[in-house]
């Protein structure tokens, strides 16, 4: 079931800025990631889903309801961590969370307290004097405390220290386990790789590719980098029918793509060569998207 559906969404701000023909959908229980550089259009897309912006073209719906027209209705099911953290003009974290609970009509604060404990947040701190990380934590608690079905986060980990990021990602994974539908954007490939089921790459306002993390993790092949001690061995090896991904003659080095079923054959062959080293080149989301982008650039000229 498609919880979030974006169809041909376009918002043209002129001078090639904005988003163009964005289409994707997020299924129930799925975690969907957005990755892209600054200004690529992640936030603009999310603002459309939140009903803050009106589409120029295309449609955005959440749970089958129009994100612009039924914005208020949708908010009953959506919780949101905005990209820019700016709190209302209130004294401290506690009064902010209380006010937010009132707006949400939330009486039971037990889950909020649980979250505060998990994130080691001191909500009694003055809102204006909070560090970026503390603000981020407060914003996350404010969003998650109502425990709604859909969670939308715009670059939620910026400003968090590595340890805190760890805790936060665990929290997201917990939410995911509960069956929430999650949409989050980030500039960090690794955290999306950990949390998401699918990740879309946005570049210059367009979705270039949507990667399935499970597929990426379970590829039928791996890449290995092999360096030979002598150029003779290097030349000899190149004549074998392995798929060479990268060739560095200077170092007598090749990177080859080997399907899992061929791995034994490779090692048998290598026994006869004088190797300097062999290492597996980890394939990940970042690599994958870099390849995609390279292809796009080649096509573009």
């Amino acid at each position: 079931m498609e919880v979030i559906k974006v169809q041909d969404l376009t918002k043209d701000y002129g001078e090639n800025r904005g988003i163009f023909d964005i289409s994707f959908s997020v299924n129930k229980g799925e975690t969907f990631g957005f990755v892209g550089t600054n200004g690529s259009g992640k936030t603009t897309t999310i603002r459309h889903i939140m009903g803050f912006l009106k589409p120029q073209k295309g449609e955005v719906s959440v749970l089958g309801k129009d994100a612009w027209k039924d914005s208020c209705e949708i908010k009953k099911y959506v919780e949101y961590v905005p990209g820019e953290i700016a709190f209302p003009d209130l004294r401290d974290g506690t009064s902010f969370l209380k006010a937010q609970a009132e707006l949400l009509n939330l009486k039971d604060m037990s889950y909020a307290n649980y979250l505060i404990e998990q994130l080691q947040l001191d909500p009694s701190a003055n809102l204006k004097r909070m560090s970026k990380g503390m603000k981020q934590k407060t914003a996350i608690v404010a969003a998650l405390m109502a425990d709604k079905d859909i969670l939308i986060l715009d670059e939620p980990t910026t400003g968090l220290d590595p340890l805190m990021r760890e805790t936060f990602l665990k929290l997201i994974l917990d939410e995911k386990k509960k069956g929430k539908t999650i949409l989050m954007s980030s500039q960090m490939f690794d955290e999306l790789e950990i949390t998401c089921d699918r990740v879309a790459l946005i570049y210059n306002g367009r979705i270039i590719d949507i990667a399935d993390i499970n597929q990426l993790k379970n590829l039928p092949y791996r890449s290995y980098k092999v360096e030979f001690k002598t150029p003779e061995d290097y030349i000899k090896f190149k004549k074998l029918k392995f798929e060479i991904v990268r060739d560095q003659e200077k170092y007598n080095q090749v990177t080859i793509k080997v399907y899992d079923k061929e791995i034994n054959r490779l090692f048998n062959i290598l026994q006869n060569y004088n190797l300097k080293f062999i290492s597996e080149v980890k394939y990940n989301l970042e690599k994958y998207f870099k390849e995609v982008l390279t292809k796009v650039h080649e096509k573009g000229g």
């Binding site: 009903g51 908010k75 905005p82 820019e84 209302p88 003009d89 937010q100």
Partner: protein, 545 residues
């Protein structure tokens, strides 16, 4: 219902310090202004200035009266002397008329002639006498200056007086006739003057009657004096107007003294005070007449001499200065300071700053910072947000001006209630006007806040125009009617056309005209329309949250 209690509470919490600061300082300012003004009696200077002008006007009036009486006295003497020669016709005329009446009675079986028939008989008598003196032998012996035509008119007028009461005959009849003539002339002159001035018919008649009566009295006194002198001098009496100038002056001075003394006693002052005041009037009268005589001797015409003699203080200083001074005397300082300076400028400034800051902070500020995202990520409609924030702004302003009203009413009551130059009704209207002005500005600032996503635009367009209006009102003050013309630069009034605050017509409120009402209506309409535009615009726009 587009209202969120939680959001309202948030707005109260975010703005209460500002509200308290602005309300308290404005209330204190207002209380000080009213109490200080009420106790200083700044109108004292104004009143004394005003008195100078009132007295100057009275003085001028007294002098005019004195000169007129003096003239009348002399004129009566001289005219009476001139007409003495024609008095001899009185006997002939009445005798001839009486005969005609007798003849009529005989012809009509003893019936008295009717009014019309009497007129016919008078006409007949006058004609007969005219014809008689036209005879060659008699016309030569007529006194100087008397022609048959004059005799005709004289006889007619005389007989008309005679038929009112036939027991008065001879010299008495002539005197009666003479005084009648003076009364009629004076009446006609004053009546025409008053009508020309635009006085109501009825009033003009009363004024003319009074004036004519007093003229008649003066003339009567003059005639008596003449007769007295003539009797005591006997046959050698030779009238010369020059001899009577000092008599006339003395007479007028005494008359003025008597009249004023009488009036003063009637008004309840002691004899001594009445005497003192009457003497000062006598002095004024004396000065006026002496000056008049002097100018006449210098060869001026009667009119010019009179103008010189009756000049008051305000006539003696240059016209522009006199105007400025008399306007200063009439200026309403309370109205200026409380109405135009406090309610339209000083007292509006802080509420305006509150409105500019709060209106911006309620919407645009939250959109610009992004904190609006927290409200809008809960099931809260945009319209609920705008309606709630609008409600907050209105409640805050209502509370502010309610307090201001209470403080101003108490302050006015403390300094003497209705005895204060500005009464309770006016103070209430001033507060209402200040509220409506702030309401219009609040609507406009709120609209800007709802339209713009950036604080800098909302503040500069909303707040900028508001402060511009206030500055224009300050500049426009120097060109407005409330500032005395000596200090006024009328071109500066142009600024008043640039300011919405001009619709708060404090002058109209304080002078009791009703034109402030429709201006209140416009202020209210501006507020309502801009608030509505703000609410609807916010529903439809893109939010960068």
């Amino acid at each position: 219902m587009y209202f969120s209690k939680a959001l309202f509470k948030q707005s109260v919490k975010a703005n209460w310090i500002k509200w308290v600061a602005v309300t308290v300082s404005t209330c204190v300012m207002l209380a000080i202004v009213i109490i200080v003004l009420g106790n200083l009696g700044i109108n004292d200077i104004r009143d004394s200035l005003k008195n100078v002008f009132v007295q100057a006007d009275q003085e001028s009036y007294l002098k005019e009266n004195a000169v007129d009486s003096y003239d009348l006295y002399l004129m009566t003497l001289s005219n009476y002397n001139d007409t003495q020669s024609s008095a001899m016709f009185v006997g002939i005329a009445t005798g001839s008329y009486d005969n005609k009446v007798e003849e009529f009675k005989t012809a009509n079986e003893g019936r008295e002639p009717s009014d019309e028939e009497k007129q016919a008989l008078i006409e007949q008598t006058a004609l007969e006498l005219k014809m008689y003196v036209q005879q060659p032998g008699i016309s030569g012996s007529l006194p100087e200056g008397i022609t048959p035509d004059i005799i005709y008119t004289l006889v007619k007028d005389l007989l008309n007086v005679y038929i009112q009461d036939t027991t008065v005959t001879g010299t008495d009849l002539f005197d009666k006739y003479f005084l009648n003539q003076i009364y009629n002339l004076s009446y006609q002159e004053v009546y025409n003057q008053e009508i020309e001035k635009g006085t109501l018919e009825e009033e003009a008649v009363t004024i003319a009657q009074t004036k004519a009566s007093s003229s008649k009295t003066i003339a009567e006194d003059a005639i008596n004096k003449y007769k007295e002198d003539k009797t005591s001098a006997g046959v050698g009496f030779a009238f010369n107007v020059e001899n009577y100038k000092s008599v006339a002056m003395h007479y007028v001075n005494e008359m003025m003294y008597q009249n004023v003394y009488q009036l003063q006693i009637e008004s309840g002052v002691t004899e001594e005070e009445a005497n003192q005041y009457a003497v000062s009037v006598k002095v004024i009268s004396n000065t006026a007449i002496s000056t008049y005589q002097l100018w006449l001797n210098e060869g001026k015409t009667a009119e010019e001499a009179k103008a010189e003699a009756t000049k008051s203080i305000s006539d003696q200083i240059p016209e522009k200065v006199a105007d400025a001074l008399s306007e200063l005397g009439n200026m309403d300082i309370y109205g200026l300071i409380i109405g135009s300076i406090f309610y339209k400028i000083a007292g509006l400034l802080l509420p305006m700053v509150f409105v500019i800051m709060t209106a911006n902070g309620l919407i645009a500020g939250q959109v610009d910072s992004g904190s609006m995202a927290y409200v809008l990520s809960t099931p809260t409609k945009r319209r609920t947000v705008t309606a709630t924030q609008m409600t907050y702004l209105l409640v805050a302003l209502l509370a502010m001006f309610a307090l201001l009203t209470v403080v101003s009413v108490i302050a006015v009551w403390v300094v003497g209630g209705n005895a204060f130059a500005i009464n309770f009704g006016e103070i209430l209207l001033l507060n209402l006007g200040a509220f409506l002005t702030t309401f219009a500005i609040a609507g406009y600032c709120f609209m800007c806040s709802a339209i713009f996503n950036r604080t800098k635009y909302s503040m500069s367009i909303g707040g900028g125009l508001t402060i511009f209006s206030l500055v224009c009102t300050i500049l426009g003050l120097f060109g407005s009617e409330v500032v005395p013309s000596a200090m006024r630069i009328s071109q500066m009034n142009f600024f008043n056309y640039l300011s919405v605050i001009t619709l708060f017509d404090t002058t109209s409120i304080l002078n009791g005209s009703l034109s402030y009402l429709w201006k209140f209506g416009i202020l209210l309409a501006i507020g309502i329309v801009t608030f509505i535009i703000g609410v609807f615009r916010f529903d439809k726009k893109d939010l960068p949250l």
